[in-house]
Symmetry: C2
């Protein structure tokens, strides 16, 4: 439809129009819109007749008449009998695009050279070819209806494959009918917040160290989030009985985030006892359960009591956050309410991505990827520990050998200065204090979690690992 012929002419008194690189009609329309927007054609201005402008521009009269008609239909121009074609009153000049293009722009910050921020897998390791292969097979096999509006649970193909995978690898009791696909843990937590609030739950306990965004989401759902203290056996679930009015608790049993401890069997037991005794619900955030290096991963808490535990898993750590695919395994009594909260149709998750992930898992590519990432992250962690032993022997690495991050214990009072020293060396890394619950009981926790760094050793690509490690070691006291 483009037309490289260029033409130009003077409209009325002194209006110069440039028509180029487009169909003449489109070009003329754009030129007139611009002239109005730019204020060169003020509202009320009478435009020349289509005949004279056509002659002026050396184009067909119909082209001009056409363009005028379009702009009248769009509301830029008005055409009254007798008074000819005029610029409509309301077509006022817009602000300069310069201003617009900075609209709502976020503050531009100098990006650090290296990042050891926790929470992201090695993005350079995303299995692009295998994912594309799965997408090809999924696209070929997809029924037509898959491209339509989906059911709120998510695609049954994915739920079926997940039920098997989660039972096999995480000891989850997972019936496809109890699985709900969501666009990440955050989405799942939002849905749980809505469902629990609809049940008149007022408080959801959280661990005394965790992500503030989780607390914020629950708060936005109208829920208070009291803290449960933790020690080196994990969250002190025995204290839940003391928290009257708490209807649910959000926990990371396999690998507490960020402190890195695993929940002791007795604490698992106490959590389930609390849930049964009070009718409470346990939200099990199994964000990195597939990554354990010292032993086989401990099965999910959910297997112990599928009616009291909501299992939340995600592909954000095992594959990539950019996929926006996660899953919940729900107690039977919560399925209806969560679907209610999710909506009449699945308005969130792409059907093609769900089918691709189902194919990716069914083909064994997911297991292979997790296995190779486990090896890679384990090497990273071992290397980190060795390097620290050599170059910063006073620093103790705490937490179990698992997941995508490690805790580096620091001398009291040094956390902030170390973070700043790292930033100075172009390394982005966070202190553990940032994850502390505002009203976390100082006593019990301080003994476990003093000043420390949360080091996301999975984050940098291989090419940046050595540099990031150097910057880290230099920043340490």
């Amino acid at each position: 439809m483009t037309n490289s012929r260029a033409t130009s002419g003077t409209l009325g008194a002194d209006l110069h129009l440039e028509l180029r690189g487009k169909g003449l009609r489109t070009g003329l329309m754009d030129a007139l819109r611009e002239a109005v927007r730019g204020g060169r054609l003020v509202p009320g201005t009478r435009l020349p007749s289509s005949r004279s402008l056509a002659a002026d521009l050396g184009i067909a009269r119909n082209t001009v008449a056409d363009a005028y008609a379009e702009l009248v239909a769009e509301g830029w121009l008005t055409a009254q009998q007798g008074s000819g074609t005029r610029v409509a009153r309301r077509a006022a000049p817009r602000r300069p695009a310069a201003g617009a293009s900075t609209a709502g722009a976020r503050p531009v910050r100098g990006r650090p050279t290296y990042s050891l921020m926790a929470g992201t897998p090695d993005l350079a390791a995303f299995p692009r070819a295998q994912w594309l292969g799965a997408a090809r097979r999924a696209l070929a096999a997809a029924p037509h209806e898959a491209f339509g509006y989906g059911e709120p649970r998510g695609r049954v193909e994915l739920r079926t494959v997940l039920a098997d995978y989660l039972a096999r690898t995480r000891g989850v009791y997972a019936d496809p009918e109890r699985i709900v696909i969501c666009s990440g843990f955050v989405h799942g937590l939002m849905l749980m917040g809505k469902a629990l609030r609809a049940r008149r739950v007022r408080e959801v306990a959280v661990e005394s160290y965790g992500l503030d965004v989780h607390r914020t989401l629950l708060a936005e759902a109208g829920l208070r989030t009291p803290a449960v203290p933790l020690d080196d056996h994990g969250t002190r679930t025995g204290t839940l009985d003391g928290l009257k009015g708490v209807g649910a608790v959000l926990m990371t049993p396999a690998h507490q985030f960020p402190t890195g401890v695993a929940l002791h069997p007795d604490r698992r037991a106490a959590a389930v006892d609390w849930a049964r005794g009070t009718g409470g619900v346990i939200l099990e955030d199994d964000y990195d359960g597939e990554f354990r290096y010292d032993r086989r991963p401990v099965g999910a808490l959910q297997g112990l009591d599928p009616e009291r535990v909501v299992y939340l898993g995600t592909s954000s750590k095992s594959l990539a956050p950019g996929l926006r695919l996660a899953w919940m395994v729900l107690p039977e009594h919560l399925v209806g309410e969560v679907l209610e909260a999710k909506g009449r149709v699945d308005w969130v998750s792409s059907a093609l991505d769900q089918l691709t992930l189902a194919e990716f898992i069914a083909s064994g590519a997911y297991d292979r990827h997790v296995r190779s990432m486990r090896l890679r992250y384990r090497r990273r962690r071992d290397h980190l520990v060795r390097q620290l032993a050599e170059r910063a022997p006073d620093i103790r690495v705490s937490g179990i050998a698992a997941g995508l991050h490690a805790i580096l214990e620091l001398p009291p009072g040094t956390e902030q200065s170390v973070v700043r020293a790292a930033a100075w060396r172009g390394l982005a890394v966070e202190g553990v204090t940032r994850f502390r619950h505002p009203d976390a009981p100082a006593g019990g926790d301080a003994s476990v979690v003093g000043d420390a760094l949360v080091v996301g050793y999975a984050t940098p690509p291989d090419s940046a690992w050595a540099g990031a490690l150097d910057a880290l070691c230099e920043a340490l006291p």
Copy 2:
């Protein structure tokens, strides 16, 4: 890890364990979990020593000790000095999976043979090969960071391509910085609802015919949704001045849904005048603006005043609802608030899908697809009109020749019976009454919209078109 060797034995008094098709340790763990869940191993039961069970099963003692240890870690068993290994108290039998698998299941209805329900494109026409090609190129070109947590606006690659496409095809003034990607119109409307409510807006006017789900979403955001009457020139935007306290209006100017009329230029003018005079916002739902058959599509209202109109577009009609990709073009003054409502990161839309759509549009595949679908739907509509003229000459088809649906005007009082007659013939189709705003002014509208059918002629695949049409004609009076 699987191991086809099968073995079995009797545990304690009479417990029979079957180990097959898995590693022995895993198999034994599963068998023990099942025995506990099934109630054959009651809480408190003391398990045989690892030595005797190993002998009994004819497997290595370490395997049994291993399995016991795992189950203790998971909380199924307890191991006290002296009292040996016992089934934990809390490991209670679960309900039968049969019950679980019907959990929250939606009512099973007999699916109709044909559907002429409006709102869905021809899903059989999804360009699978071209989409896969775009995905391949997008995956190859994607920077590593694309697989991470994205910015709330959505991928800049997609926003840049969209800005050009929307300016070119819809006359939208679109700066990439003002575009926010969302997972469908519904998501965009939710975000707008939150942003407007945060601005203390209490009422968002809607057209007197439209989708109830849109009204519901606005209501959930705490907004009242008074109705604006419409006639055969479209929504009577002149009446907006009479609606005090209305801070925004949701409209379908290009092709009113469901009545199918186009907004008259004077009405466009009046809408913009109202917005400017009151500081109100126009939400332009351009759901099918690319599909017009009688003339070139009229440009979007947004072009008239980018600071007062929010443009909402989607791929759900042009490509497929299953993609969950849509876009908003925002006034500069709303960008910050909408991003605020969307969250710190893009927790919704898959980065790969966004990059694939960007590539799909940039390569021209999107234009080609829209062009071929325009031709296909136009043929469908013409065929529908011809068939009705022959077989149901009393039925008038109203609304402009555009979009994916037509309005069939029915004799007064016959709508429900026709819908039932259609259902009787296995045809799902809806009457226009279902889309009527609860407090729509009867007078003005009744004159335009009496009893009528909303016929989604794009919905059936070619193979089902003739059959659907027959069922429709037979159901008509």
